[in-house]
Symmetry: C2
Subunit: 159 residues, 2 copies
């Protein structure tokens, strides 16, 4: 597993926005991203999970922290076309990523990451993965602790 992971990256310049209670039916994701695209908002992560009841779910996305105000304003101006129960925003987050080739064996690599964060009492707010990366959002104050814990968990200390 050590040979799978090549590095740990972090980004403290992000803010997360969550639309709570969006209807789970075709067209809703497009209704949110239309206004954002028109306003030229650069989005980084987009995370949505299944809805439990087939009716509502939540959508979270991250933008660069300097864009948070503008993004919230864009959503507010479009609110008559959007359907959601409430919007949460939080700029006290950091994105921490474990990077490596051959992440196919995710469960082992993921387990090491989640365990290392758990041992330091760091709560995982959001998880998103790709073939070469596992990214989580955590509270920004834990950034150094998380990065150091992950470096030693994957034996990257001697780099």
């Amino acid at each position: 597993e050590q040979e799978l992971v090549s590095g740990i990256a972090y980004n403290r310049d992000e803010a997360k926005i969550t639309l709570i209670g969006v209807p789970d039916r075709p067209g809703i994701a497009a209704s949110v991203f239309g206004p954002l695209a028109d306003a030229n908002v650069n989005v980084d992560m987009i995370v949505q999970n299944v809805s439990h009841d087939g009716r509502l779910t939540d959508m979270t996305f991250t933008v660069a922290r300097p864009d948070l105000q503008r993004t919230m304003k864009t959503l507010d101006q479009a609110k008559n076309m959007l359907k959601f129960e409430r919007i949460l925003s939080d700029s006290n987050v950091a994105k921490i990523s474990v990077i490596g080739v051959g992440m196919r064996s995710h469960a082992g690599v993921a387990n090491t990451m989640f365990k290392a964060l758990a041992e330091k009492g760091i709560n995982i707010q959001v998880i998103s993965t790709s073939e070469i990366k596992i990214s989580v959002l955590i509270a920004e104050e834990y950034t150094e602790l998380a990065v150091r814990a992950l470096h030693s968990a994957y034996g990257l200390d001697n780099d």
Copy 2:
């Protein structure tokens, strides 16, 4: 935007598993992935969103369809160590990905994807992104329709 997207990929060989109602506190993600790692389960996507109330959230992950039974059995055997309200599994899904460099402009690329799926009445069940890719899970029966709609939405028809 056309020049940003280089291709559309799909995978109908996946199954999704959702743990509904896991506590949102440190150590819970590790408690789920420990048994999966021990059982050598290969996981592809891992998606978790913020919890609304700070108490519970859901975790979804995908495995290769042939691994679904084994994965469910692993979770069942570990259920005394796990905390969740219920488990959903569904092998009728397809992962559709829009691939391209410079996805930083996500909102525009994402909007085109979500709009093209919406116009065909295709519901987006899960969304997960990376720097080079936007992936969604949809009902498997819509795979060809989705891939064709996305090819024309990004002007890739002439490839």
